[in-house]
């Protein structure tokens, strides 16, 4: 039982094509609205990229409506985002400066694109010294449109809608490990993860406290400078001395270990579940977000399939017994889709559990997929247009 993958549950085909299309129409219109600017001003490659993404995102939403499943269709989008974002980002860097490394001259001129992962580290210095400890620019510039104000605005506005679901519908890094986790047929190290899960899921909180306090003490974005695995596939400080060489080694080691090898072995998102301090920080938003996953105890048979399927170990036996997920649940829908007894359900806080769960799912998905289309979709469109641009004969 423990080694079963989450695709064992029978498909929950419960909607006709016509009704599914009707439910998909608002999302198709939203996608068209989001990419209208791309059609108005960009070139042919951008038009094709936008068109591909409109069809892709609308098609996946249709399948969510048609099958009643969430996880597998969301995963297709998320893995595509995870692999195509670095591709598009690196392509842009190579075209602009010929290397993935960021020289110190660009840091002092404020040309480092802002990444939301550093947000928790900024809070204390910003609050007490009115200082942002990041080598970017507060307002967008011609050479750095991804300014701190814009990116924090994007993150905060989307967090109001998604809560912790940011980690499964918006983060452009998590899809890489979700992709590697999807590769093997059977999970290894399952006993280890189950036995030490309660300890492992505390690690992101410990790292969060560490990076926030140390960043405030030394006025450096410690996570960015030392601990981010995704520096290995985006951009990193140019190696100019022993310290920056060690930093580069740490980035590569963390990426290989936490994003490639361990997800492959465990079929879990190990970086997200056992390391990411931003994910821990984002978990706090689950307290105010209205949507959650609950368990109907009258139907649950304690098979623990949901616990096994959870990519971030956001379920424990105790939490299932209480009919709840843990705070770090990112609402990916894996547990709901895998449950053979329909005991795991989408839920709107304040309403009775397991009463109209599909309504709660729809209300959540419209908001979440709208954000995914707007943010991840635009990233995907950019990467697709880059690929088209590079294709021979195009």
């Amino acid at each position: 039982m423990a080694s079963q993958s989450i695709s064992v549950a029978p498909p929950k085909a419960f909607r006709g094509v016509g009704r599914s299309i009707l439910l998909t129409v608002p999302m198709a219109l939203w996608a068209l609205l989001m990419f209208t600017p791309a059609f108005q001003k960009a070139g042919r490659d951008e038009h094709i990229g936008a068109l591909v993404v409109i069809v892709f995102m609308t098609g996946l939403f249709f399948m969510m409506m048609r099958t009643g499943e969430t996880y597998r269709w969301r995963r297709i989008f998320f893995v595509a985002l995870g692999f195509l974002f670095p591709f598009g980002f690196i392509a842009a860097l190579i075209a602009e400066r010929g290397t993935m490394s960021i020289p110190i001259s660009r840091m002092v001129s404020g040309d480092t694109p802002f990444c939301f992962m550093v947000t928790p580290s900024l809070i204390l210095p910003a609050a007490f010294a009115r200082t942002i400890i990041f080598p970017g620019s507060i307002l967008p510039t011609a050479s750095n449109p991804h300014s701190i104000a814009i990116m924090i605005g994007v993150w905060f506005a989307m967090t109001l809608v998604l809560g912790k679901a940011w980690c499964s519908y918006a983060c452009f890094f998590g899809g890489i490990e979700e992709g590697f986790a999807a590769l093997p047929k059977r999970r290894r190290l399952h006993r280890f993860v189950t036995k030490y899960g309660s300890t492992l899921r505390l690690i992101p909180w410990a790292i969060l406290v560490f990076v926030v306090l140390v960043s405030a003490a030394i006025f450096e974005p410690v996570y960015c400078m030392w601990l981010c695995p995704f520096k290995a596939v985006t951009e990193f400080p140019a190696v100019r001395n022993v310290e920056t060489a060690i930093q580069m080694g740490v980035f590569v080691a963390l990426f290989v270990g936490l994003v490639v090898v361990l997800p492959y072995l465990t079929k879990k998102r190990t970086q997200c579940g056992f390391f990411c301090p931003f994910g821990a920080f984002q978990s706090l938003s689950n307290k105010i977000n209205l949507f959650e996953i609950r368990f109907d105890r009258t139907k649950c048979v304690d098979c623990t399939l949901c616990q096994t399927s959870c990519p971030t170990v956001a379920l424990s036996k105790d939490s299932i017994a209480e009919g709840k997920t843990l705070l770090n649940c990112m609402k990916c829908g894996a547990c709901v889709d895998v449950c053979k007894k329909d005991a795991a359900v989408w839920h709107l806080k304040g309403t009775p559990v397991a009463v109209k769960p599909e309504r709660a799912r729809l209300l959540f998905l419209y908001g979440a997929w709208a954000m995914a289309t707007m943010f991840g979709g635009s990233v995907l469109a950019g990467s697709v247009s880059t690929i088209i641009h590079w294709l021979p004969g195009m």
């Binding site: 001129s109 200082t131 400890i133 990041f134 507060i138 104000a149 003490a217 006025f219 209205l290 419209y366």
Partner: protein, 163 residues
């Protein structure tokens, strides 16, 4: 009765969340960005170089001398002063300037470098300390945030470490 009231509240909240979702790309992102932009925050001086203290005009170009940047208690950066030569395009092929950094009327450092022909070419320069308060740099490039001679856009940024 209470259950019904809570359900009405919950669905109202869910509807409000959808409304927020619709507003995100049109209103909220720029709204929150403006809040951050106008919050009176500034980029840490280790990265930005701090604020300009004085401007020295030369023929065809100017030298901006920044205020001294002193590290906070646990900050790892050395204290430094940033000097910016701009516009880089107007600089002579070889720059050799004596600069008064603290405004006391006496030159504190001599900065010399060759203007790179290519804006993206790696630079090397020398800083000679003319008094004991500053550290000389030989063949400096982009070693660290407190020791550098680099080109950024149309500027040459020099950072001189202090003792």
């Amino acid at each position: 009765m209470r259950t019904r009231f809570l359900s009405i509240l919950a669905y109202t909240g869910a509807g409000f969340t959808l409304l927020i979702a619709v507003c995100v790309p049109f209103v909220l992102i720029m709204g929150f960005s403006n809040v951050v932009a106008h919050a009176g925050l500034h980029i840490d001086a280790t990265y930005s170089g701090g604020t300009i203290a004085r401007t020295i005009q030369r023929s065809g170009y100017r030298i901006e001398v920044y205020q001294q940047v002193r590290p906070r208690m646990f900050e790892r950066t050395e204290p430094f002063v940033q000097i910016v030569f701009e516009p880089a395009d107007a600089l002579p092929a070889r720059v050799n300037d004596e600069i008064d950094l603290d405004g006391d009327g006496r030159a504190d450092v001599r900065v010399s470098f060759t203007k790179p022909a290519d804006a993206n070419a790696k630079m090397h320069g020398d800083v000679t300390a003319l008094n004991g308060g500053y550290v000389s740099l030989s063949n400096a490039s982009g070693e660290s945030f407190s020791r550098m001679v680099v080109r950024t856009g149309n500027k040459i940024v020099v950072r001189v470490p202090m003792k």
